[in-house]
């Protein structure tokens, strides 16, 4: 099923408590090379047929306005995935 994948991350400047907790846990279990962890969302929008350009545009809009909260998050990617 063709999909549009939207990826959303917490804004760089802001605290990401979840990432922090996971980073600590990784550190405790000896994974020292990982200096930080940030956790965001991967959202799959499914379509019956390959999304058109205008649908991709629309998805970008949805990503910015609804799937992410611009005050605290950034949309880092919107892309079509076939499979």
């Amino acid at each position: 099923m063709p999909k549009i994948i939207v990826q959303v991350m917490p804004k760089q400047d802001l605290l990401d408590p979840q990432g922090k907790a996971v980073a600590r846990a990784l550190e405790r279990s000896g994974h020292k090379a990982i200096s930080a962890v940030r956790i965001g969302k991967r959202i799959e929008l499914h379509y019956a047929t390959t999304p058109t350009d205008s649908q991709l545009q629309e998805a970008r809009k949805i990503a910015e306005s609804f799937l992410s909260n611009g005050v605290i998050e950034d949309v880092v990617e919107v892309s079509i995935e076939q499979d």
Partner: protein, 231 residues
Amino acid sequence: MKIGVVTFPGSLDDRDAARAIRLAGGEPISLWHADSSIKKVDAVVLPGGFSYGDYLRCGAIAAQAPVMKNIIKKAGEGLPVLGICNGFQILVESHLLPGGLIRNEKQHFVCRDQKLRVENVDSAWTSGFQKGDEITIPLKNGEGGYIATDETLKMLEGEGLITFRYLEVNPNGSMNDIAGLRNERGNVVGLMPHPEHAVEPGFGPDSPVAMRSGVDGLRIFQSVLRSVISA
């Protein structure tokens, strides 16, 4: 009778679990997540709360704690272990119980007096009930939706491993209305509702007799005391 209560960073209902054990007639022993020792206790309760903030997945980080290695090992040898809410999530993340717990269907935290039916009484923690007993204990969780593959569900139903089922309202979208489970041996039980909040008149769910006076949860703790003695 010594029952350990583990405190993880972010555990919240650990004091309450200890109180429940005391009211049932046992001796609560507090265990610390970072110690590997479990101090020769006769049973263990993994209490409710938000260990590690519920970050990543509820119970996932706690399942890696040093104390869990020992608990997993001893559970394999028959040590009674009860996981309440976050404790249930930790049991699932530790693979002591099958399936998973995900965000509530309605997407928000639910706190309510929940009616349950006791479905199976052949476990260390449910032996004090009669099969089919209807009890009311508080439920409070954000991620209590039980999910499992069809195969697992069939196995759970077929072998009678479901210990508690939601009655009247399914508060979190759990499959087959599952509120609690046991392992095959019957020493490990996990449930989303909080029996430790229905143990003391005045501070529990409403009952027909008086407000906030339901004590149905007490029997879970009394069950384990009895089953440990008889074992």
